[in-house]
Amino acid sequence: MKVTLNWLRQYVDFNWTPEELTERLTMLGLEVEGVQKLGGEFEGVVVAQVITRDKHPNADKLSVCRVNDGQGERQIVCGAQNFQAGDKVPLILPGATLPPKPGDKEPFVIKVGKIRGVESHGMMCSGEELGIDPESIGLKKEDGLLILGPDAVVGRPLAAHLGRGGSDVVYDLEVTPNRPDLNSLLGIAREIAAITGNAVRVPSDTLPAGDTDASSLVGVELEAADLCPRYVARVLRGVRVGPSPDWLRSALEKVGMRSINNVVDVTNYVMLETGQPLHAFDFRLIARGDRAVPTLRVRRALEGEKFVTLDGREHTLSAEALLIADPEKAIALGGVMGGQNTEVSAQTQDILLEAAYFTPTGIRRTSKKLGLRTDASYRFERGADPLGAEAASRRAAHLILELAGGTLASGSVEVHPTPPVPRQITLRHQKVNDLLGLRLAPAEVELFLGQLGLRPASRSAGGSSEPASFTIPSYRVDLKREADLIEEVARLYGVDKIPSTAPRQGRGTHPFDERYDQIMAARRLLAGLGLNETQGQTLIAHASAGGLPAATTLSLSNPLSSDMDVLRPSLLPGLLDVLRHNLRRQNTDCALFEIGRVFRSEQGVVREGWRVAIALTGARAPGFWAGSERDARFDIQDLKGLVEEFLEHFGLRGYGMRARAESESGALYIESGTVTLGGGKLLLGELGQVHPRLARDYDLRDPVFVAELDLDQLLARRNTARSFKALAAYPAIRRDIAMIVPESVTHEAVLQAVRQSKAAHLESVELFDVFRGGHVPAGQKSLAYALTYRAAERTLTDADVAGAHEKVVAQFRQSLGATLRE
């Protein structure tokens, strides 16, 4: 909603600067989104009269004049020749600026100065200097000063003399959806009146007695009172449709509305003034049919009925839409836009002026369905004043008569079957103070509400702190219950004046609280392991990396684009997108993780789960200038080690990792493994190397390694309990075993063999070398293990260890087919 400072002042007095008005409105809840100062044309230029004109003592072509500027006399030195004493001319005063002429860099500022030794206090102006074409204002074109007509009033600002706008300030206000009454100048004026205590000046709506009764000229039949509870029609005959006067045109243009003609402009002006949308029909274009007088039917549209609105668009309507119709045709889309067939034009002589109340829901549906939003529909769908139609109709008729002449049929034709009963709301004073944390006296509360036009309807006899009931003005459609009145008190008291109280102590609980810490712990661990945290898009492309499982992936019914049409079922496609983004920007080394939610559908049930995902590509370590490792790239063991380190520190025990058959790996991986618990029964996650074909699609050059774990499972299985184990007091003995085994023998199989050997005092088994090639036959590999033996209560002897170690060696030979390398 746009309003201007000058326009507002017509309805209420306030002595604030434009900046103070911004502040006041903002603190009332009318956020000022924009302020535009209109400089006003011809600032500092007044109508002046030349009293005397004498020759300049030092210059032939100059004259020295005494000039009356309305306040007093000034001495002006002038170079023009076309004037004489008595002429009225524009005078620009010192301090004001002339508009820059083409080619000028800066506007020309008028100063008091000496011209050839004689002081000049201003400058008399030519049309050219002011940027005025004399003929456009009905004056003769001539060299020299702009000579104004003899009727010009000395001292008047030139802008006012020419009927042009003075300076003004346009405010762009954000009206919250609960306050449709503020979509009007009067509504805003009421707010200002409430805090200043000044009265609102209701604009004149006096109407002359008419020659004919309106009801003898037109009839109204209300067939859809649910959509249009009230309809008021007035008839004006013999109007002269023409351009609007400057004040009207300028008022509309300042707030961004186009001037059309005097009649239409009045309907718009009164809408802005009162918040009540109005419509003017060309009365002669309304068909009479077989009735005695033209009769408007307010009816629902027929299913599929076509209608052409003022803007020339044809709409196909449904029965939800409301039409104003004559016996032959629809003439307006009620509350939204009038019809082309009855538009007011230059030829229009008689007018039917409509003022009605349309219910919000109906207008909203129609407007949305047709994609047609107008200033009228906007106001009706938010809620117009159910009782505002008559006053606005009178005001508009008053202005049309004033601006377009004509005669008004007396009275109006009004259909208003069930006028609303004024709403009353009970307010307990105690509740006001309890909620706001204030100690207002009941009288203060009543004062605030009274300033907003809420009158006490009942008051308990003695009673200060007893509940009081207030009658709500019809335009305050937002006030429905006690809390709403308390808000009004807070606004008028001043929200900024409500004292803050120190936060109270207490302890909230929620099951997620602990989980939040656990998730943060996971994040910190992963960051500590050298990974940067990412936050990916929840919405990803259905055609994402490796293909998403169609049956369980959740799609949007109204996606913005095919890039974001499903909810991520995994964090990995998003991480690959992030890698691509980085590689395209030459960030070739990435070690990333994300913790976030994924979504899937299980037999039609929507499931959300937390996951953690890791992606590695590029250089293993930050750049360094020496050493054989400096060019090392990430490999699968980096990923595996990261996952292991993370799981161990996060408190997950007893998990296993296994290779996954290529057939189960899916399109994402060239090689992958699983992380499981319970001997493979519970899947915790997966990890592997991204398939080069996919990596190429994503412009990823170095091998890419990714892992994804089910964070919900990790949180459920996590065990962070720790208990101290006494430090070993006796020395350990280490024995190494190097053996050649078939390629298929896994580390897990070796550990299994160690367990089977039941070797005594064996403390740990550590793989320290894997070797292929050389003397190792093809299809085999050499494994080297360090076995550490230790007893808790004594120092082991070589003999103790020899026996145990022999068992291990024997078991390796037996179950692994190992050849021991001595």
Partner: protein, 335 residues
């Protein structure tokens, strides 16, 4: 037996020369063996002491011992010198050159800001709560008093899923208010950070996914003053002690009275503004209490919410919200 004593001095001199000549520890060990080892020349000399006449032995023994001490002292000194030499780096270190780094990752700026917010609220006894991102109309709109035909419910503004019950992606974390109040009795003191979704095309200030934080406090006798006090505390914690807070009346369907919160500090003034809008809040609407089965005559409360990206953008001077979701490592490494 003048010969033994006569030999002593040249032998000692030879030993001292040999130690001095050793240029590394192995050479020194070799030299030590030559003189002091079991077959060493000095050891040999000592062995011959027994063959001396009895009366000459004390003097000879004394002389030999003195020589031995001298040799061993020289040996120790030479060893220390050579050890030091061996330990000294081959080249002097250029302390201006970068050392060998390990990679240390960083938390995403949104995570850091969220955690700061959580920390501030937890200092006041708030618990972190959470709820589903895929919501239903009841929790996201109806129970929050959103009018039936409010535009927020439009498919134009809100993402809906294609499944039959037409679930939606929550448009605000306020849906969690309803879930929590429906599940636990008052008093309630929660903070809800989380992702929310609006159907806006991505640009410098919009991303279809973004983060909000919601605070909810319900108790007996909660006032607007409490709301103001808490908001002021939290924003000073977050944005610095010079932060000023302003409340303006506003409208939200689930609070009454409702306010918008502006803040001002040096950062805001640097942007050439007096105030920057930062959050919305209000006293929980009695209708909302009724919707979750709380008695509004007994319980009052406040709720407030704000965008985490907005806080992060102001705090770090980030002008494009998309940077948070692109995850460029040059961006991530700055926080």
């Amino acid at each position: 037996m003048a010969t033994l004593i006569d030999e002593l001095d040249p032998l000692k001199r030879a030993a001292l020369d040999a130690f001095q000549a050793a240029d590394a520890l192995p050479a020194l060990d070799q030299a030590k063996g030559q003189f002091l080892g079991p077959e060493g020349r000095f050891t040999g000399l000592m062995k011959r002491l027994g063959s001396l006449p009895k009366e000459e032995r004390p003097a000879a023994g004394k002389a030999i011992n003195a020589a031995k001490v001298e040799i061993e002292t020289a040996l120790t000194a030479r060893r220390e010198a050579l050890e030091l030499l061996a330990a000294r780096p081959a080249h002097a270190t250029d302390f201006t050159a970068p050392g060998r780094h390990r990679r240390l990752g960083r938390l995403h700026p949104l995570t850091q800001v969220t955690d700061d917010i959580v920390r501030a609220f937890r200092a006041l006894g708030f618990a972190v709560a959470d709820g589903p991102e895929i919501e239903d109309e009841h929790h996201c709109f109806d129970a929050l008093n959103t009018p039936q035909d409010h535009p927020a419910r439009d498919a134009q503004d809100t993402f809906y899923l294609g499944t039959p019950q037409r679930p939606l992606l929550r448009t605000h974390t306020s849906s969690v208010q309803i879930r929590v109040m429906s599940q636990q009795p008052p008093p309630v003191r929660i903070i809800v950070p989380g992702r929310v979704y609006r159907r806006d095309n991505a640009d410098a200030t919009h991303n279809p996914t973004f983060h909000q934080v919601e605070g909810l406090y319900v108790d007996r006798g909660v006032t607007v003053g409490d709301l103001k006090g808490t908001v002021e505390f939290v924003f000073r914690e977050l944005m610095g002690t010079d932060t000023k807070i302003r409340f303006r009346p506003h409208y939200f369907s689930y609070t009454e009275p409702s306010f918008e919160i502006d803040f001002s500090n040096a950062l805001v003034r640097k942007l050439g503004k007096d105030w920057l809008e930062i959050a919305g809040c209000g006293m929980v609407h009695p209708q909302v209490f009724e919707n979750v089965g709380y008695d509004p005559e007994v319980w009052t409360g406040w709720a407030f919410g704000f965008g985490i990206e907005r806080i992060a953008m102001i705090r770090y001077g980030i002008s494009d919200i998309r940077l948070f979701y692109e995850n460029d490592v040059r961006f991530l490494n700055q926080f």
